[in-house]
C-alpha cells in the first residue's frame, strides 16, 4: 500500500495534521466504486456531498482509480486533499479544509497580485456529457465579480452557450491548439 499526495504539501504516508485533527464523528465517507463499475458518473453525487460538507468536516471518497480531476475542482472550493492507494483499484481520497495550506489561486492558475481580474480555470476534457455543463454552471454560480472562468474543453460546447446567455454571462471561444477549445466566461454588464 502506498500513500501519496498530488499537491505535494504533505508528507507521504502520514495524514496531514489538519486532517488528523478532524475527529471520526466529523468525517463523511462516500464510496463511488460501485457507481463507476456500473458506468454511472458519480460527479453530481460527490458535488452534492461536498455542498453538505461543514467547515470542520472531512470527506473520504473511495474510487477504483485516482480521481485526479476532482483535485482541481475541489481545490477551487478551498479543499485540500490527501490520497491513499489501498489497492490498485481501491483509492481513498480525503478532502478537508486546511487553514495552514497556502491560498491557492482559483483554478490552479497563478494570478498576479495586482491583477484586476482573477482567472479560474476548469479543465473539463475527458468528462462525459453533460458533466462539463453541470460543472461549469455550478462553478459559475459562485463566480465573483472580479473573476473570469476559463474552460478548457475538447470541443465547442454548443449546448452550453444558450445557458450562459440565459444566465447573463458573456463568453469568448478560441482554439489555442488543435483539439483544445478555450472558453472564457465573464459576468455580463447590466
Amino acid at each position: 500500500m502506498a500513500d501519496r499526495c498530488e499537491c505535494g504539501h504533505h508528507a507521504v504516508g502520514i495524514a496531514p495534521a489538519a486532517l488528523a485533527a478532524i475527529p471520526d464523528t466529523r468525517r463523511l465517507h462516500l464510496d463511488v466504486r460501485e457507481d463507476l463499475r456500473r458506468g454511472d458518473a458519480p460527479f453530481a453525487k460527490i458535488m452534492a456531498t461536498v455542498n453538505m460538507l461543514g467547515v470542520d468536516q472531512a470527506l473520504e471518497v473511495r474510487a477504483p482509480f485516482e480521481p485526479v480531476p476532482l483535485y482541481t475542482v475541489l481545490a477551487k472550493l478551498s479543499l485540500s486533499h490527501w490520497t491513499e492507494a489501498r489497492e490498485a483499484d481501491d483509492w481513498s481520497v480525503w478532502f478537508y479544509r486546511d487553514p495552514a495550506a497556502p491560498a491557492e489561486a482559483p483554478g490552479g492558475v497563478a494570478s498576479a497580485a495586482r491583477a484586476p481580474e482573477r482567472t479560474v480555470t476548469l479543465d473539463v476534457r475527458g468528462l462525459e456529457p453533460p458533466q462539463p455543463m453541470v460543472l461549469v454552471l455550478q462553478r459559475l454560480e459562485t463566480l465573483g465579480q472580479n473573476e473570469k472562468l476559463e474552460i478548457i474543453h475538447s470541443r465547442r460546447p454548443v449546448f452550453l452557450y444558450p445557458q450562459l446567455e440565459g444566465r447573463g454571462f458573456v463568453y469568448e471561444t478560441d482554439e489555442p491548439e488543435p483539439g483544445v477549445v478555450r472558453i472564457v466566461i465573464r459576468r455580463g454588464t447590466v
Partner: protein
Amino acid sequence: MIPAPGRAPSALLPLTYLLTAAVAFVLAALAVPWLATDLAGHYYHPRILALTHITTLGWITLTIMGASYQIIPVVLERPIWSERLAWWQYGLFVAGVIGLVGHFFIAAWAGLLWSAGLIVLGTVGHLLNAALTVRGLRRWTFTARLVVLALTGFALTALFGAALGLDHVRKILPTGLFANLHAHVHLALLGWVLPMVIGVAARVYPMFLLVREPEGVGGAVQLWGLGLGVPATVVGLLFQSPLAAVGGVAVAAAVTAHIAWIVRMARTRKRPALDWGLRFALTGTAFLLPATTLGLALALDIVGGPRWAMAYAVLAFGGWASLTIVGMMLKIVPFLVWYRAYSPLVGHGAVPTLAQMSWPRVEGVAFALLATGMGALAVAVGAGKVAWIRAVGIVIAVGTIAFATTLARVFHHLLPCRLGGISVARPSVTP
C-alpha cells in the same frame, strides 16, 4: 445566412424524430413473428417490402435524421440552418413513410407514387437543411466529409426509390427488377446508413468512451473505401458486372478500418465500465463482421439465393444498424431530455444525473433479447424455418418493448407534473 453560434439547439425536434422512430421499431419488431411465413419465403413480397421500409425509413432513417439535429450542432460545432424546415420535413417524411409502408403492405403499387413523392420532398428538406448548415464550414473533418458522403447517398437512394415506384406503374428504368432492387438496397445501406454511422461514430464514441478521437491512415481507408466502393458496388449490381465485387472489397476494407478504430477506442478507453448503451453500440459493430463477410460472399458469388440474402439483410439492418442505433438512442435521448428538463436548473438546485434517469435492469433485458434475437433471426431466415422465425421474432418483439419501456421512462421526465416536483435522491453518505 449562417446562424449565430449561440442559438440554442432544439431538444424537442430531435426527440420527436427519435420517438417516432422508436414507434416504427416497435411496429417492425411486432411484425416479425406475424410475418414469419412470409419471411421464410422470397424477399420480393409486398409484406416483406413493407417490413423492410418501416425498418429502413421509419426506424433507421428517422433516427439518423433526428440524431442529426442533435449531433450536427455538436460534431460540426454550429446550429442547424432551419428548425422550421426540419419540422415541415418531419411531417412530409412521416406521412410518406406511412403511405409507402401501407401501400406496400396491401400491394397497391399505384399508391406508392404519392408516398414516394412525399418522402422525396421530406428528403429534399433534410438535404437542404443539412447543406445550408455545413455551408461555409472551414474545417472539413473526417466526420464532416462522411456526413456529406452519406447525405449524397441519401439523395440518390430517395431518387432511385421514387424511380423504382414509378417503374412499377410505367417502365422507365432500363435495368431489370432485381438488379434495381439490389442496387437500391445497397445505395441505402452502404451509401446512406454506413457512412453516416462511421462518420458520427468517429466523433461521438470518443465522447462516451472517454478516449482521444481516432486518427491515422484508417480514416483515409474508410473515406476512399466508401467513396469509391459504394458507387462501384451499386453500378456493378445495376448492370450485373464484376464491378460489384470490386466495390464490395473496397467497402469491406472501409468497414475493417472502422472496426479497427472502434476496437482501439474500446481498448484504450478511460471509462471504467460500459453502460448498456455502449454495449449495444459495440455489439452492433461486432455484427459488421458476419454482415460484411456474408455481403462479400454474395458479391463474389461464393453464396447466392434469397435465403443468404435475407440473412445478410437481417445481420446488416437488424444486427449492425439497429443495435448501434438502440445504443446511441440510449445515450442521446437521456441527454436531450435532461437538457430540456433540467439544464436550466443546474447550479440552482439538485438535478438528476443521466444514470438516475435510466433503467439499467430493463436495458440489460433489452440487450440480451435483441442481441441474441438478431443473431438468431439471421440464422432462422437463412434456414427458412417458419417456426424458428416466429419464436425468434417473439424474442425480438419483447426485447424491443423492453427498449421502448426504458425510453418511455426517460421521456416521462418531460411531463409537467414531473418537472413541478423534481425529486432527486440525496447521495447516501455514511458518517
